[in-house]
């Protein structure tokens, strides 16, 4: 017999484990589609996590926390954008330094919040609907950011393929020189994309400290930002596939712990290592398919644009 309440609980934890990855990776998709590789996702997530926690702590409102986390991530994206977009600094090195800086800054800001109990994002409760066994809690019992992340996936998918703005964004990522020749603002588009990516990463971080585990600990992002970057490759830069990928990773993370709970004698460290191992395996599998990767990779990804006067 299937124990439905237990399955529902597992699915719920998978959703909460997946949502931060999804949010952060969606932002990175937009940034990378415009041609900017931002490896600072981990740092922006950390800042988002701490600013979300701090704002919630100060105001008592998780909504304020969510907004603060997005703003926090976006603010951290600013120095990255200046260096990479305006000064054409190497994107890999700058992204790395952004991560180091973001982790350091978040640790410092969050120092006084260590051990402070946080407030959890409220979960939706629709009388009747949310009480339906299994379906109720899974479909109608999540917190707002979960629904938002799904809506955001659809919205970004629509934006990229159907809107003129999305067309311009893709054009800038495909060939920035031609875009410039056409009179499109390469720098403007990239700034917007990087800021949006920062806000999304911040939100993803905020979800960690408000939804996943409502407290602050140093390094609580634990590499999720990097996994989000890998997810973008895995998803070949498509939002719908990012959603699938994020949920797969969430499932790997959570199912490992449940397997241990069910008495499988695996050391907890090995369970914790699963998402990282999965990332490596996925990268190897995806990268093996060179034709597919090449066809989907934004042609200007990682290349600095220097306007010719």
């Amino acid at each position: 017999m299937v124990d439905w309440p237990v399955v529902a609980a597992i699915v719920l934890t998978i959703v909460t484990a997946s949502t931060p990855l999804l949010l952060a990776a969606l932002g990175e998709v937009v940034a990378e589609r415009s041609g900017v590789l931002n490896l600072g996702v981990e740092g922006m997530m950390a800042i988002g996590a701490v600013s979300g926690f701090a704002a919630t702590h100060a105001t008592g409102s998780t909504f304020a926390g969510v907004i603060a986390s997005a703003i926090g991530g976006m603010i951290l994206a600013v120095p990255f954008a200046v260096l990479v977009i305006n000064l054409s600094v190497n994107q890999v090195a700058t992204g790395l330094s952004l991560t180091l800086f973001g982790l350091g800054a978040s640790a410092m800001i969050g120092d006084k919040y260590v051990g402070v109990p946080g407030i959890k994002l409220p979960q939706l409760h629709i009388p009747g609907l949310s009480d339906i066994p299994f379906i109720g809690p899974v479909l109608f019992g999540q917190d707002g950011l979960v629904y938002f992340s799904v809506v955001l996936t659809i919205a970004i998918g629509w934006f990229l393929t159907r809107s003129r703005g999305g067309l311009v964004l893709r054009a800038v990522g495909d060939n920035h020189d031609s875009a410039h020749n056409l009179g499109l603002s390469v720098l403007g588009v990239r700034w917007a994309a990087v800021l949006f990516g920062g806000a999304c990463a911040g939100l993803g971080g905020g979800y960690l400290s408000l939804g996943y585990t409502p407290l602050w600990t140093e390094n609580m992002t634990a590499g999720r930002g990097w996994i989000a970057v890998a997810l973008v490759v895995f998803a070949s830069w498509r939002p719908a596939r990012v959603l699938v990928g994020a949920y797969l990773f969430g499932a790997v993370t959570i199912l490992g712990f449940h397997a241990q709970g069910m008495g499988l004698a695996i050391p907890s460290q090995f369970i914790s290592a699963l998402p990282y191992l999965a990332t490596v395996v996925v990268l190897v599998i995806i990268s093996g398919n060179k034709a597919m990767l090449r066809a989907n990779t934004p042609a200007c990804l990682g290349k600095p644009f220097v306007p010719t006067r």
Partner: protein, 350 residues
């Protein structure tokens, strides 16, 4: 010019520090003194500085070779850990073996451990094209978890009252000191030696030339007859070996046992050291001392001023952002100046 941007970056970081300390309600002058001056006023802290700089320099020299070849190894923390684990196998599994061979074997195993662990991302990149940034970093997390498992599980000292730590190494497994007392172990010499060898080979050997070509123009490297894959593998192996050596030296020379946390983020701080040293092995020695200063200053500040040592990591990250920015700003200015003074035919055609 090449000195200018690190200097500007350091000054900017000091200014940030002053602002930050003021905001935290600490006298900035006093704080900066505690952070950056006090550690160099006493003999013991100078020794400590060198001891902390040694692993940073060893790792950063290897990373500099990678970055020069445009290979992005950011998993040095994992390679450091792998080296520490491999090398520690001897004193932990054979605690009673007392021989002059113990130490050399440990060091060799440490190097091999780092190399093997670095070979994984290199091979995955060469064979499948998997992005080495992500794989090497993911492997770092895995290595730290494996270490955690070892010292809490199979390698835990039975007499440790459940503390997660291995047995204390015997004298035969401890790096000798350079001077009779204090903490200056011979591992420090490895850093200096590595810097010298790397500097010479980079400037004068065909392999050094190959690294430069590969980093500057991959297409030209192929034309020159250098295999990109071989270069990727070799710089990964070298940097992994150096990180592994740093790892085993840290365990054998400083900690004397394995613990869950054997590195205060050396593998990541070394990235900053590499850039601060302009990817130049000799300058990296200086840069490593500076980063080591920030670690020791951070500890001092925590003790004397009750300022969290997390400030250190903020400084380090900010320093790297500043170096990258200053480098470009200065290079940009020079470009503007030269393009004004030299008539360039390309520009006309452009």
């Amino acid at each position: 010019m090449s000195v200018l941007s690190p200097v500007i970056a350091i000054v900017m970081t000091l200014i940030l520090g002053a602002v930050l300390f003021t905001a935290l309600g600490v006298n900035p002058a006093q704080a900066l003194y505690v952070y950056f001056v006090e550690p160099v006023t006493q003999l013991w802290s100078l020794e400590e500085l060198v001891v902390k700089a040694a692993p940073l320099a060893l790792i950063a020299i290897g990373l500099a070779l990678c970055y020069r070849a445009n290979v992005w190894n950011i998993g040095a923390e994992g390679q450091f850990t792998a080296g520490a684990i491999f090398g520690s196998a001897i004193p932990i599994l054979l605690p009673d073996w007392d021989s002059w061979m113990v130490l050399p074997l440990m060091l060799i195993l440490g190097v091999i451990g780092g190399m093997l662990y670095a070979a994984i991302p290199a091979i995955l990149k060469n064979r499948f094209g998997a992005n080495e940034i992500l794989t090497s970093l993911m492997l770092s997390y895995i290595a730290l978890l494996v270490l955690d498992w070892l010292v809490r599980g199979p390698w835990r000292d039975p007499g440790s009252f459940n503390f997660p730590q291995s047995v204390t190494f015997s004298d035969a497994a401890t790096l000798p000191l350079l001077v009779s007392d204090g903490r200056l172990h011979v591992g420090v010499l490895f850093a200096v030696l590595a810097a010298l060898i790397a500097a010479i080979r980079l400037s004068f050997s065909v392999q050094g030339f190959a690294i430069e070509v590969a980093g500057n123009a991959p297409r030209a490297a192929r034309f020159s007859g250098f295999s990109q894959k071989r270069i990727t593998l070799s710089v990964f192996l070298i940097s992994g070996g150096l990180a592994g050596l740093a790892g085993i030296c840290e365990v054998s020379g400083v900690l004397n046992q394995l613990r869950p946390e054997i590195s205060p983020g050396y593998g990541f701080a070394a990235i900053i050291v590499a850039f601060l040293g302009r990817l130049n092995p000799l300058a990296i020695l200086l840069a490593a001392l500076l980063l080591a200063l920030s670690y020791i200053g951070g500890e001092g500040a925590q003790a004397e001023l009750a300022v969290s040592s997390t400030v250190t990591r903020l400084f380090q990250g900010f320093l790297l952002l500043m170096i990258l920015g200053c480098d470009t700003l200065i290079a940009y200015k020079i470009r503007l100046v030269t393009s004004r003074s030299h008539a360039s035919g390309e520009a006309a055609r452009g």
